[in-house]
């Protein structure tokens, strides 16, 4: 239960970045946050994790207010946050230490750390790079490490802030399946992305426009009805295809499925 209650935020007085934003994300949901560049998505993510505090209104996680400094640790333990730029996230000098750092903080016992380290590193296929310096990896490898470091902590919520923007299609698919797996286990997934096909497979979409929440609901409904270009978005491939077929079959996230269905009807 993560709640924004009439949240306002600005970096500089007079230039508000988030305006009067209210929504609640229930435990176990998978939510995509979309919107134009500079509309405030990363700021929302930082507000969720208590790294920034609202200037007005409240952000609460399970009724803990992020503005109470004493409880902030609990929030950080329960909410994992993969930064937009993985380089900003790196604290230590090796890939292994990077994953272990968070685990030590949340007091995971030693043997368990090893298990989780192995699991996370294998999930992102970075086994060969355990002793490399995070800063000396390729762009996509950095993102993989950043993801592994958070996934290993097994928080209740993970916020992915464009965490797959530099992955190859296969890597994107892998991360997608990691997310699905975690979601199946009950984790809340919040995914900030510009990749519309990924948005389509979320359960819920929050559309941010100039610091305001513009739409909150089902992604399929959204793409069927909204004029996406108004929000600097495009239609996912599945929806483009759907339009080409003149809406003759119901829209689903899996477009291959849709084509087969179409074919069989005809």
């Amino acid at each position: 239960m993560l709640t924004f209650d009439h949240v306002h935020f600005y970096y500089k007085k007079g230039q508000s970045v988030i305006e009067n934003m209210s929504f609640t994300i229930e435990t176990g949901e998978s939510v995509a946050i979309v919107g134009a560049n500079g509309c405030g998505k990363s700021t929302i993510a930082k507000l969720m994790d208590g790294l920034l505090l609202p200037k007005e209104g409240r952000v609460t996680f399970k009724n803990i207010d992020t503005s109470r400094p004493t409880d902030l640790d609990k929030i950080h333990e329960q909410i994992g946050f993969v930064f937009q730029n993985p380089e900003d996230q790196f604290i230590t000098t090796t890939v292994m230490d990077e994953v272990v750092f968070g685990l030590e903080n949340i007091r995971v016992p030693r043997e368990e750390i090893l298990n989780r380290l192995n699991y996370a590193i294998q999930a992102v296929q970075m086994e060969d790079y355990l002793d490399s310096m995070p800063h000396q990896l390729s762009g996509g490898q950095k993102q993989r490490v950043a993801i592994a470091a958070i996934v290993a902590m097994r928080p209740e919520i993970i916020i992915f802030d464009e965490a797959t923007s530099m992955l190859d299609p296969q890597g994107r698919e892998q991360v997608r399946s990691i997310m699905n797996e975690l979601h199946r286990q009950g984790m809340t997934i919040i995914h900030i992305t510009h990749h519309m096909q990924e948005v389509l497979s979320a359960e819920r979409i929050l559309l941010i426009h100039e610091g305001r929440l513009e739409f909150d609901g089902n992604p399929l409904t959204f793409f069927e009805t909204a004029t996406v270009a108004d929000y600097q978005l495009e239609l996912p491939f599945a929806v483009r295809l759907y339009q080409m077929f003149h809406h003759s079959t119901p829209l689903t996230a899996d477009w291959k499925e849709m084509v087969r269905l179409q074919w069989s009807i005809n």
Binding site: A36, N85, M166, P169, Q232, R260
Partner: protein
């Protein structure tokens, strides 16, 4: 201009990032570079720009060996534009304005000329004027990206290298940028080297594609040939096809026939699929 690499090898400490790469890059083309994470794409384009000082191999521009210093190290090649994979690697000035003005100032333009050029470039990449006095690091991820691209476009280079320039851009800005680049490249006969993981964009905009795998250059293809005829190669290297081409494959499989299309671009494939569809349902 023609850029030529011969048996180029790059080592980072113990890791070989490029293996004996030889290639020729002709003028006036949009060449995309694809390959999995860690395949050596960024390393390859850095070599072309001369950003990696010690390389093993031969590099010529218009048949002339590229200038090296007394220690045999490569020097940056000034008339190539280079947009880094992470905009943070590129931005260093204290304000957006200074960032944009840096390159033209180096090239000796007057401050009026620079101000004018900045006025022109901002709308093209979709940056508002209000951000000019801000520090680059106060911008959102996507704005940083636009700024990084704009500051290189200010150089108006003959060869422009873009390392995943669309990562972090919102869809409308992404398409706008790609169209801007395409227009610029075609009208002014410039060369673009475009590193990307977005197969749809690669299929849509490029003339040629270079495929990398584990430090090797696996081939340099015409875009249509690569995506329409070399699907096995891509599959073998664990790379995926653009969605329109995947659609084509699905329809081929369903109809059990080979479908000829004009190109691997989405419009052409949709047109074809639509016509097959139409004939079937009539």
């Amino acid at each position: 201009m023609v850029y030529q690499l011969n048996n180029m090898t790059v080592n980072y400490a113990e890791r070989v990032a490029l293996h004996n790469v030889s290639c020729t890059i002709q003028e006036g083309k949009w060449i995309s570079i694809i390959g999995q994470t860690g395949a050596g794409k960024s390393t390859f384009v850095k070599v072309l720009k001369g950003l990696i000082p010690s390389v093993d191999g031969d590099y010529r521009i218009d048949q002339q060996p590229v200038h090296r210093d007394s220690k045999g190290q490569l020097k940056g090649i000034p008339d190539i534009g280079y947009v880094f994979q992470y905009p943070e690697h590129q931005l260093f000035e204290t304000t957006v304005y200074k960032e944009l003005a840096f390159a033209p100032k180096m090239m000796g333009y007057s401050s009026q000329q620079i101000a004018h050029a900045i006025e022109l470039i901002l709308p093209q990449v979709g940056l508002p004027e209000e951000i000019l006095p801000l520090a680059p690091f106060q911008l959102s991820g996507g704005y940083k990206r636009r700024l990084a691209i704009a500051s290189v476009l200010m150089m108006d280079p003959k060869l422009l290298i873009l390392d995943e320039p669309t990562a972090g851009l919102d869809p409308v800005s992404r398409v706008a940028l790609l169209r801007l680049l395409k227009r610029w490249q075609q009208q002014e006969n410039r060369t673009i080297l475009f590193v990307s993981h977005q197969m749809n964009d690669v299929a849509e905009y490029s003339d040629e594609v270079m495929v990398f795998d584990e430090g090797h250059l696996m081939g340099h293809y015409d875009t249509n040939i690569l995506f329409l005829e070399q699907a096995q190669l891509l599959a073998k290297l664990g790379m995926s096809l653009p969605e329109p081409v995947q659609l084509l494959k699905v329809v081929e499989e369903l109809s059990g026939q080979n479908i000829e299309v004009a190109s691997c671009r989405e419009r052409d494939i949709f047109e074809k699929v639509w016509s097959i569809w139409h004939t079937r349902s009539c």
